[in-house]
């Protein structure tokens, strides 16, 4: 029983956090819209470049407040029991991959990421290495050889 309560509490917190996303985004657009300078040559009938950001900011705040109030009032929250550990781990891996990309270059960074990513998704190390090398070769051929599109080089070269 207490476990169900804890789960419901966690789901409720998640719903409230979701509502907060709208409020934070709304505040961001509203506050920084005041930093947009009105040009001196502005047509007097043009409401200017800051009007819509202000409206969007206010709408997001109102929407977020409404969503939060509704969640609190009804205690209505959809339980999401999915394990997000895999998502978080992969997101962190991708983050480091993108971080390493301009430093190590496409080929080395992708080789490290590819093998690591496949291994954490339960693919055998040998198979991971072969598949990663195949993907790198395919991308190199398509982007560099076929279409002459540069890929990130070692140390930004």
């Amino acid at each position: 029983m207490s476990q169900i309560k804890a789960l419901r509490g966690r789901a409720l917190s998640r719903e409230l956090a979701g509502a907060c996303i709208w409020i934070v985004l709304g505040l961001y657009f509203l506050i920084f819209s005041y930093q947009i300078r009105e040009p001196l040559t502005l047509n007097k009938f043009d409401p200017g470049p800051s009007l819509l950001p202000k409206i969007m900011g206010v709408l997001l705040i109102c929407g977020g407040v409404y969503a939060a109030t509704k969640t609190l009032a009804t205690r209505d929250c959809k339980r999401d029991d999915r394990n997000s550990r895999g998502s978080r781990l992969l997101a962190a891996t991708v983050f480091f991959y993108i971080f390493l990309l301009p430093v190590l270059g496409f080929h080395i960074a992708t080789a490290i990421f590819g093998v690591f990513s496949m291994v954490i998704m339960s693919v055998g190390p040998g198979k991971s290495l072969i598949c990663t090398l195949a993907i790198i070769a395919l991308i190199h051929f398509v982007f560099v050889n076929l279409f002459a599109i540069p890929l990130p080089g070692f140390m930004g070269s």
Binding site: R14, G18, L25, F29, F32, I36, P39, T41, L42, N43, K44, F45, D46, P47, G48, P49, S50, P53, M56, L59, L60, Y66, A67, K78, D80, R82, N83, S84, G86, S87, L89, L90, A91, V94, F95, Y97, I98, L101, F106, T110, F113, G114, S117, M118, I120, M121, S122, V123, G124, K127, S128, C131, T132, I135, I139, F143, F147, I149, L151, P152
Partner: protein, 491 residues
């Protein structure tokens, strides 16, 4: 038109075109990869090519990926794209009876026929609509875009209109980042030069659809492979016979798909379900029952979804309002190739080029589809971990290749994580794109209207078109509120 068709038979156009369509088959037939992502990923590859070849690649992929989504839907009961969800019912049931390949052949032929009729309808209707669109004032466009946005949000939110509206608002707000087109004033740039062009749309799309899907799917054991792939022989004569026998269903579904696809925001997935529903309602005593392996259940959605892809271009080409996420990205690509949607498109001859490519794509779909069914369905049997990793690498490289900018890769990643968070909150993602696409247009037309009318907003209700469009908007808002209220009362 004939000249355009002949000019497309150049090896420099045909080779990348067929390769792109094969790529579309690969992406569309891979569960988790969407038609939207296929189009987003092909754009960077099309950059170095001649305009005709580049357009052929982009348009080719947009049609191919929708058909290809039916391959895993038939074999594995996993829709490759949302538009293939309806195919998981009867098509999969037929596949389990050992008719997998024949089902997909019927599917391919119906997709082709549906696409051809859809493109012809597009050619017939679009020109007339374009001439009508010349009479539109900025305020008329403002109402049309607002109506398109609201309609799109209502349809694509799956009953979560409130959350859909919030997502559209966020998309609208994101689209405001960068230089204001009317005054050249920077907004939310913070002296960061790379942001002055705004958030790049393509990396945002790849992140929102591709990366978020990968992050969402990377849960649990990813080492398994699906080996229940059922295969039987192709029966060309039998398949053609089935098509002839069900011609009324094909025509009915194409018209249903066209009508739904032409509505901004509706898209191929709703068209497929709509056609399936119409086919079910108009068939008395179906044997076998729908959902139990009825051929009409295969033919109706597949004819409709390709027709809907063509129809989604009616508002996109005429008004610049994308009917769905795929068209939104294709529209973005058109702008890159200096093709501006709107009435002027029909004067410049670009419309003929687009129609020719769309028509030819339907014909090329048959060989590409046959290769796809035979070869690329094997991709669905690869370990999930390999497929997901490949998607991440393609997403990263695809985003980087746009401008050779690592900032675009970070934008893609940020949108991927943001998309995942939104999906966890049960927020529909499609309205966010609609907001990003239509937001700047709404702002531009509103401000232009205000400038032309000397700040008098009552002018926004002066023309007949404005009155009709604003009344429709009010009606839709009212209907949504009424539905929300009645469902609240029901609880």
């Amino acid at each position: 038109m004939i000249d355009q068709l002949v000019s497309l038979l150049d090896a420099q156009i045909l080779i990348p075109w067929i390769l792109a369509m094969t790529f579309g088959i690969f992406v569309g037939s891979t569960p988790g990869l969407t038609a939207t992502m296929a189009v987003a990923l092909i754009i960077p590859l099309s950059y170095p090519l001649e305009r005709e070849a580049a357009l052929a690649m982009v348009i080719g992929v947009s049609f191919t990926a929708i058909f290809a989504g039916d391959i895993p839907a038939t074999f594995l009961r996993i829709p490759g794209t949302p538009a293939s969800a309806a195919a998981t019912l009867d098509a999969h049931r037929l596949a389990t009876q050992g008719k997998g390949k024949q089902t997909l052949l019927v599917n391919l032929l119906c997709s082709t026929l549906g696409g051809i009729i859809g493109v012809f309808l597009l050619m017939l209707i679009a020109k007339q609509l374009a001439e009508f669109a010349l009479q539109f004032s900025p305020y008329d466009y403002f109402w049309l875009c607002l109506l398109g946005l609201f309609l799109g949000v209502t349809v694509s939110s799956g009953g979560r209109t409130g959350l859909g509206l919030l997502a559209a608002t966020v998309g609208f707000a994101f689209a405001l980042v960068g230089v204001d087109p009317l005054t050249n004033q920077s907004r939310f740039v913070f002296n960061y030069e790379e942001m002055s062009q705004g958030l790049n749309f393509i990396p945002a799309m790849i992140g929102l659809f591709g990366m978020s899907e990968v992050l969402k799917t990377a849960i649990g054991d990813s080492s398994r492979t699906d080996k229940q792939l059922t295969s039987g022989p192709f029966h060309l004569v039998k398949s053609l016979g089935l098509m002839v026998r069900h011609l009324p269903t094909i025509v009915q579904s194409v018209f249903t798909g066209t009508a739904i696809g032409a509505l901004p925001g509706a898209g191929a997935d709703i068209a497929a379900w709509g056609a399936y529903g119409v086919a079910e309602k108009t068939t008395s005593n179906p044997t076998p029952a729908f959902g139990k392996g009825n051929w009409k259940g295969v033919i109706a959605p597949t004819s409709a979804n390709n027709a809907a892809v063509a129809a989604a271009w009616i508002p996109a080409l005429v008004f610049g309002i994308p009917g769905d996420a795929v068209t939104a990205i294709v529209l973005g690509a058109f702008i890159v190739y200096d093709i501006t949607p709107g009435p002027a498109l029909f004067e410049s001859g670009n419309a003929d080029l687009i129609f020719s490519i769309a028509l030819m794509t339907q014909v090329l779909l048959i060989p590409a589809g046959l290769i796809g069914i035979s070869v690329f369905s094997q991709v669905a049997r690869l370990p999930k971990g390999v497929v997901l990793t490949a998607v991440v690498i393609f997403s990263v490289v695809g985003s980087f290749a746009m401008n050779s900018s690592i900032v675009d890769v970070w934008v893609m990643f940020a949108f991927g994580v943001f998309g995942l968070i939104l999906e966890r909150q049960h927020v529909p993602l499609a309205p966010l794109i609609l907001g990003m696409i239509l937001g700047p247009k709404i702002e531009e037309y509103l401000r232009k209207g205000l400038i032309i009318s000397s700040g008098n907003f009552t002018e926004a209700f002066a023309s007949g078109i404005s009155i009709i469009l604003s009344s429709l908007l009010v009606l839709i808002v009212f209907a949504s509120l009424l539905r929300a209220f009645s469902s609240y009362q029901g609880k």
